[in-house]
Amino acid sequence: MSEMAMHGAHPPGFKHQFEDMEQQREAGSLGMWVFLVTEIMFFGGLFATYIIYRTLYLTAFEEGSRLLNVKFGAANTAVLIGSSLTMALAIHAAQAGKKKSEQVMYLVLTMILGALFLFLKFNYEWRADYHEHLIPGFGFIIRPEWGAAGTHVPLYFCFYFFMTGLHAMHMIIGFGILGTLTVMAQRNRFNSEYYAPLEVSGLYWHFVDIVWIFLFPLLYLIGGRFALPGVH
């Protein structure tokens, strides 16, 4: 790649197919936005079916929702919002031409927060769910106290694990991207002229964050635990 990428006097990171750096930056940014549109459709299909089923089997979905651990969900929301902040700070550091150590610091901080999210999710939430037989396909047990709605509670948990699982998968991919960026930052690749990879990856990271901002109320909050008494 490198021999294709470097063209004599061009700035580092410049690709031969573009006319100038500005065009390259715009193309990269538009590319990521288009990719995010794809991602919206990807999650959108799941959200739409979730809402259809939730309307059909409201009681069952509320039963399921009550079994989630809102404390960890809320903590994770805070953790992710924090990681979006550090990501933005990393981009700002490059944009403002700050030292590479500062860029690296914010990137590593973002990774730590991302790891914390996954750790809380896997270790406290999903592990508990497994022990409580709430994972469909892995010894799910319908509890008598769900009564009427019991048959349909597994459906709620199918959605819960599909959606949070897919989200976690995106986090792990983001983790890989952040790792690459950290190495690049360490090698002094970014400066106030060239920081497109950071900016574009930032868009992705914020998107993953936003998906969670939708998932958290949809799965944990509405109806179930915080429903007004008597309102269904």
Binding site: L30, V34, F35, M41, T151, F162
Partner: protein, 540 residues
């Protein structure tokens, strides 16, 4: 004219710039990637075609002439999966689109060349999974993968196939993304949106469908695979899941996917008709916007695949009216192409014969779609051979005809060589005749009530089935002829020169085959597309 040109061999071009397997497998040149795709989809076309031939041979006799019903079910499933997901969807966009989008807009490459190579590898991995499914015993769900048959009842390799299609979806998404960004950001100076060749408009509309539709089928097949693996999932009636929901999600992509197959063909058509009649296209803006209209409306008509599932009458009415609506832009295109011929200077080179074949077959295919958008007649015709005939007229009569026309048109640009014109015209004729003989009887079979996907059938349907099978053998031969003479031409064909057809468009201003960087200097565009009235031919 040949002879005045420097022989292709002595000039550095994208084909001889470097040698060796590695120089191809690691290339980021859009033209080489186009050829990688061309090779792979041609292979898939003949694999899928082989299954089709087996099916038609089997159906010569009512009790089935060749294989057990289980095998027949696998034949039509693998024919459908391979032809739809691994040939038709990538056909024009990944080969001609990849080759031409940068050249037509005056760019050196697509915006993301490495992503482009990655999408080819993704395609290959997806195809490998699907071919593995074929070898490991095949799959028998039909290409539509309807639940609960696919999720619970089938005993075949559903997961590898669904995974293959799922993976290949990302190849489409990345190609679409690459095209959208390239068309938005990398047009040559002076090349405004309304100076773009209509092929580019078609590619743009197709890319929109790739981007918006493909993720939905990806998630649907992912959920299907998971449900099969874990024996529980959201389409499972046992826990309140709805198998019909799968159809909604499937067709939300797969109906627009039909337009993924035909829109690029329409784009090719506009290029061919204008060049071989030496005329500017009639009604440029109408043709351009009809592509976008089709792309958008195509997302709102999926329910017409489900009129007989018991969906509400009112939903049926809405989907029916929208389905009629999506037919209008297609009709507008056909009228505009016809009008373009008026007072033209029409020549009958091979690509033009394919183009005229396209108009005829696509018109038939489109009009028979009216029978299926009409609720009352759809009740009788859905699930019968009428459907099979209708979509083959669109996808084979339309899309494949246009694909072949496009290959013949740009072959001299791609390879620098001409093919024998007589053979090419002959092949176009054989394909046209073979195609009609194969699929016209199927309209009648469908109206008579013969359901599709039947391994055996009542005796009264035999005559029409035999006619169809006879046509299929002609069609099969028709497809083999171009394979032979095109391969022959790579080595023995006469040198083509940069612009053998006297065509307009930036791609024709480069040498054939073009150099790796396409243009030594990025051209400046001062004219509209298809400005054939401007005598002399050269731009600027």
């Amino acid at each position: 004219m040949p002879g005045q040109e420097i022989p292709a061999e002595s000039r550095v071009n994208y084909l001889n710039a470097s040698y060796g397997v590695k120089s191809w497998l690691l290339t980021t040149d859009h033209k080489r990637i186009a050829l990688l795709y061309l090779g792979s989809i041609t292979l898939m076309f003949f694999v899928g075609g082989f299954f089709a031939v087996m099916m038609r041979l089997h159906l010569i006799e009512p009790q089935g002439a060749l294989v057990a019903p289980e095998t027949y079910n696998k034949l039509f499933t693998m024919h459908g999966v391979i032809m739809v997901f691994f040939f038709l969807v990538p056909s024009i966009p990944a080969t001609l689109g990849n080759f031409l989008v940068p050249m037509m807009i005056g760019a050196r490459d697509l915006a993301f060349p490495r992503l482009n190579l990655l999408s080819w590898y993704i395609y290959i991995i997806g195809a490998a999974f699907t071919l593995y499914a074929v070898i490991s015993g095949g799959v028998d769900t039909g290409w539509t993968f309807y639940t609960p048959y696919s999720s619970t009842f089938s005993h075949t390799s559903v997961i590898p196939t669904a995974l293959g299609v799922f993976i290949t979806g990302f190849s489409s998404i990345l190609t679409g993304l690459n095209f959208v960004v390239t068309i938005h950001k990398m047009r040559a100076p002076g090349l405004t949106w309304f100076r773009l060749p209509l092929f580019i408009w078609a590619m743009y509309a197709t890319s929109i469908i790739f981007i918006l539709g493909t993720p939905v089928i990806a998630i649907t097949l992912f959920l299907l695979g998971l449900e099969r693996l874990l024996h529980i999932g959201i389409f499972d009636p046992a826990i309140g899941g709805d198998p019909i929901l799968f159809q909604h999600m499937f067709w939300f992509y797969s109906h627009p996917a039909v337009y993924i197959m035909i829109l690029p063909g329409m784009g090719v058509m506009s290029e061919l008709i204008t060049c071989f009649s030496r005329k500017r296209i009639f009604g440029y803006t109408f043709v351009a916007f009809s592509s976008l209209a089709i792309a958008i409306i195509s997302f709102l008509v999926w329910g017409h695949h489900m009129f007989v599932t018991g969906q509400s009458i009112y939903a049926g009415l809405i989907f029916s009216v929208l389905s009629f609506l999506v037919a209008i832009p297609s009709a507008v295109k056909v009228f505009n192409w016809t009008a373009t011929l008026y007072k033209g200077s029409i020549s009958y080179d091979a690509p033009m014969l394919y183009a005229l074949g396209f108009i005829g077959l696509f018109t038939m295919g489109g009009l028979t779609g009216l029978f299926l958008a009409s609720l009352a007649t759809d009740v009788h015709l859905s699930g019968t051979y009428f459907i099979v005939a209708h979509f083959h007229y669109i996808m084979v009569g339309g899309a494949v005809m246009a694909y072949l026309g496009g290959i013949h048109f740009w072959w001299p640009k791609i390879t620098g060589r001409m093919y024998p014109d007589g053979w090419a015209r002959f092949a176009a004729l054989v394909i046209f005749v073979g195609f009609n003989l194969t699929f016209f009887p199927q309209f009648v079979l469908g109206y008579l009530g013969m359901p599709r996907r039947y391994a055996v059938y009542p005796g009264e349907f035999q005559v029409l089935n035999v006619m169809s099978s006879a046509g299929a053998s002609i069609l099969g031969i028709g497809y083999l002829i171009p394979l032979i003479y095109l391969l022959w031409s790579i080595r023995y064909g006469p040198i083509a020169g940069p612009n053998p057809w006297g065509a307009k468009g930036l791609e024709w201003e480069t040498p054939s085959p073009p150099p790796t960087e396409n243009f030594e200097e990025i051209p400046v565009v001062t004219q509209d597309a298809y400005d054939y009235a401007n005598v002399g031919g050269s731009r600027v």
